[in-house]
């Protein structure tokens, strides 16, 4: 527990001071945090033994929600756009979750993928509304009522995102150690006993799915603001796959895992794209193979010395 706390604090402090010395890293770190949020959502579902290959749906849905609201001047304030877009993705997660929690394993994963690809197609084909493959521009909104220049805006959004990630991570950590979190793990270990405790596994999974969709949506809302542009690529299966990749790379034993994974993912992508532009996907693949074979608990497991995939006491 002490090692986990030290790891979390070290990660938080490093992230907080890094952009002050390296302003170029602000956007990269914000993107990593956004992807970390979506991967945290994947981690919640992995605790129940379920994997979603379609969380790009919630990520892109809230990103487009931000773009539409900003364009329509419904919300020209970042502190309104983020929660409203996140809530919209939560609503979508609730709708999808109503029937998707009936499925398990490969069917759960592939249904998520199918729905996200339907949304991807809609974004591409409905050109007059969505801007098709070109996407939509997101005008820079005000922040707490104030107009900022690009660099100042990016720095403030970074710190807001860092705060949101901390709050989300603390909440998820609490949830996973609560009876509800244990019931979620029980879906993986023994659904029969859960039924014979009088508990509905579907309701438990629905709650987790909703939380997972909200986390991905939060990441998507922020990424729309920081990149200033949204495209259908946010809903594409490759993006959803990256979230799963990040969760496994970082490890699901603790809430710091997905953020560690997201940071490592950005570092590998950044350097590999420069030094091995033709083979950077192969570099990512090799990295994942190394993790699966030699450190199944991910970077989190390496950092905390935990060998179990789910951490534990």
């Amino acid at each position: 527990m002490a090692r986990q706390l030290v790891l979390g604090l070290a990660l938080l402090i490093t992230l907080a001071v890094f952009p002050l010395f390296s302003p170029w890293s602000t956007v990269i770190l914000t993107v990593a945090l956004c992807e970390g949020l979506a991967a945290l959502g994947i981690m919640v579902l992995l605790r129940a033994g379920q994997v979603s290959f379609g969380h790009g749906l919630f990520f892109s849905f809230s990103a487009y929600a931000v773009a539409f609201m900003a364009a329509a001047r419904l919300g020209h304030e970042a502190l309104i756009l983020i929660p409203v877009a996140t809530a919209a993705s939560g609503l979508l997660a609730a709708l999808v979750g109503l029937f998707i929690v009936r499925y398990r394993a490969i069917f759960f994963g592939m249904l998520n993928l199918a729905i996200s690809m339907v949304f991807f197609s809609l974004l591409e084909k409905l050109f007059p509304i969505t801007g098709g493959a070109d996407g939509k521009r997101v005008p820079r909104p005000t922040l707490a009522g104030m107009e900022f220049g690009r660099e100042q805006f990016e720095l403030w959004i970074f710190y807001i995102t860092l705060g949101l990630c901390l709050a989300a991570a603390l909440f998820v950590a609490r949830y996973l150690t609560s009876p509800g979190g244990k019931a979620l793990e029980a879906i993986k270990s023994n659904e029969t006993r859960l039924e014979y405790l009088g508990v509905s596994p579907r309701k438990v999974l629905f709650g987790a799915y909703l939380l997972s969709g909200l986390l991905a949506g939060l990441g998507g809302a922020v990424i729309a603001l920081v990149s200033g542009h949204v495209t259908p690529e946010l809903a594409y299966w490759v993006r959803s796959g990256e979230f799963v990749f990040i969760a496994i790379l970082g490890g699901i034993g603790g809430v710091a895992g997905p953020f560690l994974g997201a940071l490592m993912f950005q570092i590998i992508r950044g350097y590999a794209a420069v030094y091995a532009p033709e083979t950077w996907h192969a570099v990512l693949g090799v990295m994942l193979l190394v993790i699966i074979f030699f450190a199944p608990a991910g970077l989190y497991g390496i950092a905390t010395g935990s060998r179990r995939k789910e951490g534990g006491r």
Binding site: G180, G181, A186, R193, L197, G198
Partner: protein, 248 residues
């Protein structure tokens, strides 16, 4: 005594096997009914039919005046029927404590994400229950590391944590050494008495049946072939022949 459970004419066929063949049983409150019979007689099928795991093709099960035949295991559990399993159904990677606290949370409906297991409001009751079934010393152990006999007890303790009015126990002493069987059953009987819980248990050890059952139902071919007090049943010529035949 009031009838708590009435199973009437339950039928279920799996392909060519008639697993329940007009099975009927009436259970009064506070009874301890032992179900005995050879393997494949339909004992576990009967439990599965009464607890919603399987649905009969015909017949009905009434519990405390309510028809539960078509209800889900979850709904039946909430009405007050608990069960333990032939192969214990537990959360193997969690501690005994966590298994019981999850059961207590399920009973109380306490699912707040801010409720930490280590500071669970029902922790006191959990320790009492562990003491009652003689498991206090192993509370912190991971279930996967426990021997089969102990897992059986944990499985029963989890079911008891729900405060059922009626509990089905499928072979509670299998996996327990012959020297410890009576100790385990004494402990269980005390726990059942303390909570005024009616119990139906499948058992192969006739000494256990003779000592702890108030009534015995002999299962054969998916239905009750004989029913009576332990003395009547265990001295019945057919039962003696069957029992001696399997070398018990």
């Amino acid at each position: 005594m009031s009838v708590i459970l009435e199973a009437s004419d339950l039928n279920l066929r799996f392909g060519g096997v008639q697993a329940a063949n007009g099975a009927s049983l009436k259970v009064s409150a506070n009874e301890r009914i032992a179900i005995i019979g050879p393997n494949g007689a339909g004992k576990t099928t009967f439990i599965n039919l009464c607890t919603g795991y399987l649905k009969p093709q015909s017949g009905r099960v009434v519990f405390a005046g309510q028809d539960i035949t078509a209800l889900s295991p979850r709904a039946i559990t909430r009405l007050g029927i608990g069960r333990s399993f032939q192969i214990p159904q537990l959360f193997l990677d969690n501690t005994v404590i966590d298994n019981l606290l999850l059961a207590l949370s399920a009973r109380e409906g306490s699912w707040s994400p801010f409720l930490v297991m280590e500071r669970h409001p029902k922790a006191g009751e959990m320790w009492e229950l562990l003491e009652m079934v003689g498991l206090k010393a192993i509370g912190g152990r991971i279930v996967r590391e426990l021997p089969e006999g102990m897992r059986k007890l944990v499985d029963i303790a989890v079911a008891l944590a729900l405060e059922p009015k009626l509990i089905f126990m499928d072979e509670p002493t299998s996996g327990v050494s012959s020297t410890e069987k009576f100790e385990v059953m004494d402990t269980l009987t005390r726990a059942l008495d303390a909570r005024a819980t009616t119990a139906i248990f499948v058992e192969h050890d006739m000494d256990v049946v003779a000592r702890y059952a108030s009534r015995v139902a002999v299962w054969s071919g998916g239905r009750i072939a004989l029913e009576g007090s332990p003395e009547e049943i265990l001295n019945h010529p057919e039962v003696r022949e069957a029992v001696i035949g399997v070398g018990v």
